[in-house]
């Protein structure tokens, strides 16, 4: 077979394989974006829950969440600026801890 023809066949074979891998990675990255959206929604839900709890405990005189988690230790003042990071029970994990 002439070299030129052989080169075409060889190039086609290698391109097909790398295209397959590329298509696969594209699909996977699209799915990971879906996971990212889920995590964003989870963060929003957790924030809503946290705000509900903080609002509820604030009306009861404060410290409800602190007593729950800290075994009766005085709880820090509640402010809206607190995040789920302050509450281990609402720790949703980090995306990088599960997916590279």
């Amino acid at each position: 077979m002439p070299l030129r023809d052989a080169v075409e066949y060889v190039a086609a074979a290698y391109i097909v394989v790398f295209a397959l891998v590329l298509i696969y990675l594209t699909i996977m990255s699209k799915r990971l974006r879906g996971v990212q959206r889920d995590l964003d929604e989870l963060t929003r839900l957790a924030d809503e829950r946290l705000n509900e709890r903080l609002g509820g405990s604030g009306r009861e005189g404060g410290g409800g969440l602190g007593r729950e988690n800290d075994g009766g230790r005085p709880s820090p003042p509640h402010t809206d600026a607190r995040t789920p990071d302050d509450h281990p029970e609402l720790d949703l994990g980090r995306p990088e801890s599960t997916v590279a």
Binding site: L3, A6, Y9, M28, V99
Partner: protein
């Protein structure tokens, strides 16, 4: 080492190994006397086929582990191994057809036992996903899929031996007594095989991590959802393995 850093290291190793294999194929391995430059397809086609068939067998072994332990994580690993092998199988069929066209003048040769037997195995595994999708109950789905994976996994080596024993058609032999690859070609082939095995492993781990992350996110969403109805364990019909919520929530960081 955490799952993510292991995955990162594997990805880098795969990329380096593939680059090295490509360099060896085109700059080190000598051109074959009979087929000439066309023989370079060999270094991509045969490793893909070997890794693909090993992946099918691995899927069966992982399915045995799933049936033994009842842990859905083994089912997920088996599913991912078979899924990835199917993708590699597509690559094998396409590169094989291109090689056949260049070498024999035909895209497909029906009287070659090696080609036809590979096609049979591929088509057999192509029914794996529809089988899973046809069963709604996740528990039954995972058990039936495991039984299928074990039976089909046992069929792969049997098929391989049967083709070896057949003498109707002489297909190039790479491994075994009949191998006549010179040193540089054999070295290039082995490095290419290692590179594709690494790629397979990396993509399997990548997909497993992605599926676990998704299952974990969904389980947490159900838990966090204030709505009582959505808090119930609802699952859309899917061919993908269902990870138990507890398992999913705990398994996120594990590879």
């Amino acid at each position: 080492m955490s799952s993510s850093s292991r995955l990162r290291h594997l990805s880098v190793a795969s990329a380096l190994a593939l680059t090295g294999a490509l360099a060896l194929v085109f700059f080190y391995a000598p051109t074959e006397a009979d087929q000439g430059f066309l023989q370079k397809i060999f270094y991509i086609h045969v490793p893909l086929a070997i890794v693909c068939l090993c992946g099918f067998v691995a899927g069966g072994l992982l399915a045995i582990q799933h049936l033994r332990t009842g842990d859905s994580r083994w089912d997920l690993r088996s599913y991912v191994a078979i899924h990835m092998s199917l993708i590699f199988g597509v690559g094998v069929l396409i590169t094989g057809s291109i090689w056949a066209k260049g070498s024999w003048g035909h895209w497909w040769v029906w009287d070659s036992p090696t080609l036809v037997s590979f096609l049979i195995i591929f088509l057999l595994y192509a029914t794996y996903q529809p089988l899973r999708f046809s069963i709604e109950d996740p528990e039954r789905q995972s058990r039936y899929a495991s039984v299928f994976a074990i039976a089909a996994g046992a069929f792969v080596p049997m098929n391989f031996v049967a083709v070896r024993l057949s003498t109707a058609y002489v297909h190039p032999r790479v491994l075994g007594d009949t191998s006549n690859l010179p040193g540089p070609m054999a070295l290039t082939f082995l490095i290419s095989l290692g590179a594709f095995a690494l790629l397979f492993l990396t993509l399997c781990m990548y997909e497993t991590a992605a599926k676990r992350a998704r299952a974990k996110a969904r389980a947490l969403k159900r838990k966090l959802s204030a709505d009582g109805a959505s808090a119930a364990p609802m699952r859309r019909r899917s061919a993908e393995p269902a990870l138990g919520s507890a398992t999913a929530a705990n398994a996120g960081g594990r590879g």
